[in-house]
Amino acid sequence: MAAFLQSIGYNSLILPALLIIPTVGALLVWLHGATLKGADEAAQEAGAMMARRLTFAILLLEFILSAGLWWSFDASSAAYQATIDWPWISAWGARFALGIDGLSLMMVLLTTFLMPLAVLGGWTSVRHKVHAYHVLMLLLTMGMLGVFVARDLFLFYVMWEVMLIPMYFIVGIWGGERRIYASIKFFIYTMVGSLLMLIAIVYLGWQAGLLEGKPNFAYEAVMALPEFRPMVAFWLFAAFFVAFAVKVPMFPFHTWLPDAHVEAPTAGSVILAGILLKLGTYGFLRLAVPLFPGIALHPTVRAVIIALSVIGVIYGSLVALVQPDFKKLVAYSSVAHLGMVMLGIFAMTRESVQGALMVMIGHGVSTGALFFLIGMMYERKHSRIIADYGGIAKVVPIYATLLTIVALSSIGLPGTNGFIGEFLVMVGAFKTVPVMTTVSALGVILAAAYLLWALQRILYNTLDKPANAHLTDLNWREIGLLAPLLFLIIWMGVYPKPVLSRMEASVGKFVQEVEAKAAAQSVTLNAPGGN
């Protein structure tokens, strides 16, 4: 497979192709929508179906193309692969430089994997402005992939903002009742963080390009910068930190998430939980930590961040316990899971960072599936309130089975993907931060408590609401949509080695470089006068 891909020059074209295909697709769908202006209802309806199919086909193509990365990726190398470096805005020193390594490979695949499913998930629930919705989905795909594959800070920032806008509209137009509040909250929260990041990025670009007289945003150039004075480094790190911490979201920057999740349409929730949140943690892995290892691993800063992560784990779980709304419950559980990721990253051992990546993937799959399942029931009953259900396992046994499996993977039951990630994070983190890891392991208990309690109140107990006796079970489209997710849940729990081995080299390099740099810099941090 690898040889075949090599022979067709796969690596030299795949990454730009992944960005161009959805862009062109968005254009196509938009044009198709434009031709329907003024058409009668039947034609509109047919056109809407065409838009769904077209988008699904484009995203499926995207997934099939990206799947080649699985084989073409050289797991033994920690360097960027499938790189391209095209001039872009040369006056500003911004280049169109792309590449993937072990940190981003799985994120790219997760994105291309989830997006077609997300379109399927909104197949019947999105009924108005269908074309606009799908154009936004395609643009969103492009933006998210762009963030993951960028090797240029400026490109990174542009893509970061590109993906914000479609999400804003998806929540704001196709969302629930309080969608405007939720979307604006989401937008402003994210924007505040990302503007601070922009300042830091511009500063870094100028510093890197000092000799050339124009900025240089290439990752390599920025990473190679000599270390900053501690105060400067601290504020730059803080700027990145806020941007990413909002996205993660870390306690106490998390309150946009429950609102956005609750109001977003199903596909929006899936993407939000499945991919968007990971951009925050990915940002820490890719930029914030490697750029400022001295600050990130400074005992105080690190202790604060780890404390916030662990608070997130416990706090998210506890608040999830008492949510009456199932979507909100899952949203708070995301806060807990992502806290686990942050713990893994900042514990800074190879096991814990690999575990953090596994949790990122696992959470994307499991929570994505959970939101799909919630959406399917919402389409039937138009309620997300747990108390409106009860005992429906008798009526919808397939739904009940799938929901149980997915919930169990979210709980982190061994044999599912959830366990691998959490176990690796904790077993690795225990070496550096034993007490905090022990506290976060309490989240294991709470996760079982909130999800099983919710399951019981939805699926089990007495079926006491007559309206629920006539719910219909999942249809083939829905089962087919969930099947790949379930496959991943089990496969990554039973045989995660192929996934782990592909991130091994990059994670090793990441941990080693950050530790080495931090060790060198901690000397200066403590030196009198601070350089």
Binding site: Q354, P414, L442, Y460, T462
Partner: protein, 726 residues
């Protein structure tokens, strides 16, 4: 070909290349059964689509709880036999038989091979990350094979029993799917070659326990019980996880071989911490104080499940874990004493509760908790073989007791079913005098009762005596006796444990005899109409009972005491020596811990006397004839009330842990912190601030161009003036 290569790589282990290479098939058979039954249940369930979902109450057990007082009787008229019940009753037990046969073959191969080291069959690399290298690997050694024999053997019998017991349940294939899945995970638990593999099984059996306890999930009490079991177990799992983290961060290994080889590097403090955290896990899984509360509630599941999971196999996993980690526990006298002491206290505590329970299954549940306490006394004092011995015999007689009670409940339920009675089919006050209606069950249950009470020559006598003897033997000249535990000298504590063990044995004899008397003796209290419908269970149920009866009778031969003149003396002890022998020797400072025969005779005499006294007390003091049926019984008072309500521990936990946790989460964290402080004050607060500033600014915008022009002119004149005057 592949097998041969792997065999070569594994080195010259006597078992490589033998049938033990196929060990992975042992758990795979039940997994296949799970898949088949699971598909059957899903397929049909999807097509049945009940119009009236509340009509499915055609099951036999009810949680004897006020919650089930509602009128659900109409469902009893036509038990809905599942369309694929035939396939399920074929597949379910068949996969167990296959596993059992293969296990027996491997067991024989192992006993012929005299392997001093475990045979490890590595399937694939499971979690390679950083320095962590965890394989999906199975371990064949003496301990794991004993456990596997018990699980597949007793499991097969219980599966057969289930065919009779559950046949008429509409969820029949689902039941067998769960049961097969349980056996799969249980086998992974005992066969796994490293702690994470063990943990997979550990959590997996917890899951199946959850699913099976809540099998009749339409009643809230059942679903509650399942959830409670899972969550309480998770508290224990937390301890297990932390123990694994400690092991990995200190030793860098998590496989049994690696841990045992390097364990001597651990400092005493660390090894004690590891053992105590691990024991927290055991306390959760094996229902020891303070985490025992889930097991009595778990009786909400079908009775064969109680027999398999909550008596014979899963709940003994904690004992297995301690025996498996005997190297670690033997290094920490403090942790070992803790295990033994908690076991002793649990044994006594549960036995007292067992004295006043009316539900036949609850009596057995507390009896299980109590007997598990005994096993922990055994493995706690370093008598690992004795603990495992009691585990095996307990599996025999307690499975028999549970299945026997299942047979009783089945009969009661059938009788109630015929007459449309809605009384509690599990309350002993509604039974009485059943011996004339169910003679087979009656006789077999008496065998099991005598076994658990400790009457020779039944199995329980030997294993219980072995444990108590071991405790006594270690009061002098062992590392435990020399240690201090919370300021108490070890030998004093061991004497106390021995005494508590004796008292518990007395109570065990009393409450078991009480159960038998109330159930089978005295006058019948089922009611006149129902009496004519009381029948012995069909052969598919009594057959397994009979096999278990034989095992309960003869199980003692597995490990006869040393003073025994003939027979396989200490067979199990010697069999387990390669696994636990070294650790046991460490506890006893290298000497074989054997008492003088004269002392031993005295101890044995004492144990028998205690058992006989207990039975005598029960027979003479209890008056089955004076009992009235449940509905007419007055509420108990004083100490009886405390016992009947299990010392109000559930209520205390609820008030001290559950309610505060939920309350604080809701009012302080969610409403206060999240909605109030962060969202209200910070997020929306900042938006109100911005809006306020904007409102002030907006007042300046009149919208009148003329006003703007005036302002402009004034501004220009001001600037010009400023320039001119400068």
């Amino acid at each position: 070909m592949l097998l041969l290569q792997e065999a070569a790589a594994a080195g010259a282990h006597p078992l490589s290349g033998s049938i033990a290479e196929w060990i992975w098939l042992v758990p795979v058979f039940p997994l296949i059964g799970f898949l088949i039954n699971g598909l059957l249940s899903l397929r049909t369930a999807a097509h049945i689509g009940p119009k009236d979902p509340t009509a499915h109450h055609a099951h036999h057990d009810h949680a004897h709880d006020d919650a089930h007082g509602h009128a659900d009787g109409h469902g009893h008229d036509h038990p809905a036999v599942h369309p694929y019940a035939g396939i399920a009753s074929l597949v379910g037990p068949a996969v167990l038989f296959a596993s059992f046969a293969l296990t027996a073959a491997i067991f024989l191969a192992l006993s012929g091979a005299h392997a001093e080291t475990p045979f490890i069959k590595t399937l694939f690399s499971w979690m390679p990350a950083g320095n962590l290298a965890i394989n999906a690997a199975f371990q064949v050694d003496q301990l794991s094979m004993v456990m596997t024999m018990v699980i597949t053997g007793v499991g097969s019998l219980i599966h057969v029993f289930s065919v009779g017991y559950m046949k008429e349940d509409p969820g029949y294939p689902r039941y067998f799917a769960y049961l097969n899945l349980f056996v799969f995970f249980m086998l992974v638990l005992v066969l796994g070659a490293n702690y994470p593999m063990l943990f997979v099984g550990w959590e997996g059996v917890g899951l199946c326990s959850y699913l099976l306890i809540g099998f009749w999930f339409s009643e809230k009490a059942n679903a509650d019980a399942g959830k409670k079991a899972f969550i309480v177990n998770r508290i224990g799992d937390f301890g297990f996880l932390v123990a694994m983290f400690l092991l990995f961060s200190n030793l860098g290994a998590l496989d049994f071989a690696g841990v045992n080889a390097t364990a001597s590097q651990l400092s005493p403090l660390v090894v004690t911490a590891i053992c105590l955290f691990m024991f927290l896990g055991c306390a959760g899984k094996s229902a020891q104080i303070p985490l025992y509360v889930w097991l009595p509630d778990a009786m909400a599941g079908p009775t064969p499940v109680s027999a398999l999971i909550h008596a014979a196999t899963m709940v003994t996993a904690g004992v297995y874990l301690v025996a498996r980690s005997s190297v670690l526990f033997s290094m920490s006298p403090v942790a070992s004493l803790t295990v033994a002491f908690v076991g002793a206290i649990t044994a006594l505590f549960a036995a007292t509760i067992g004295l006043k329970q009316w539900d036949i299954k609850k009596v057995l549940a507390y009896s299980t908790v109590s007997q598990l306490g005994y096993m922990f006394i055994g493995v706690g004092v370093g008598a690992y073989a004795a603990g495992v011995f009691h585990l095996v015999t307990h599996a025999f007689f307690k499975a028999l007791l549970f299945l026997g009670s299942g047979s009783v409940i089945y009969a009661m339920h059938q009788a109630y079913h015929h007459t449309g009675n809605h009384d509690d089919a599990q309350d002993m006050r509604n039974m009485g005098g059943l011996r004339q209606f169910m003679p087979v069950t009656f006789a077999l249950m008496w065998i099991a009762t005598l076994a658990i009470a400790g009457i020779p020559p039944f199995a329980g006598f030997f294993s219980k005596d072995e444990i108590l003897g071991a405790v006594f033997a270690r009061t002098h000249g062992s590392t435990l006796a020399d240690a201090t535990w919370l300021g108490i000298p070890g030998s004093a504590l061991l004497y106390a444990i021995y005494a508590i063990g004796l008292v518990s044995a007395l109570l065990t004899a009393i409450y078991m005899t009480r159960m038998m008397l109330y159930t089978f003796h005295g006058p019948n209290r089922t009611g006149d109409k129902e009496r004519s419908h009381l029948r012995e269970a069909p052969w598919v149920m009594t057959g397994p009972l009979a096999v278990l009866g034989v095992l309960s009778l003869a199980g003692g031969w597995l490990n006869l005491p040393t003073f025994f003149p003939a027979g396989p003396v200490q067979a199990l002890h010697h069999w387990l020596e390669p696994v636990t022998g070294a650790a046991a020797l460490r506890i006893t400072n290298g000497a074989e811990a054997h008492l003088e025969h004269s002392t031993e005779y005295i101890l044995v005499g004492l144990a028998i006397a205690i058992a006989v006294i207990g039975i005598t007390i029960a027979v003479t003091r209890l008056k089955p004839a004076a009992l009235v049926s449940k509905s007419q019984s007055p509420a108990s008072e004083g100490i009886e009330r405390v016992l009947e309500h299990k010392y109000f521990v559930d209520e205390a936990y609820d008030a001290a842990v559950v309610q505060p946790l939920v309350g604080v989460s809701r009012t302080v964290l969610w409403k206060g912190m999240d909605v109030g402080l962060i969202d209200g004050l910070m997020v929306n607060g900042s938006s109100y601030l911005a809006r306020g500033i904007g409102w002030v600014g907006a007042r300046l915008q009149s919208g009148q161009v003329g006003t703007y022009a005036w302002v402009l002119i004034i501004g220009v004149l001001g600037v010009l003036g400023a320039f001119t005057l400068r």
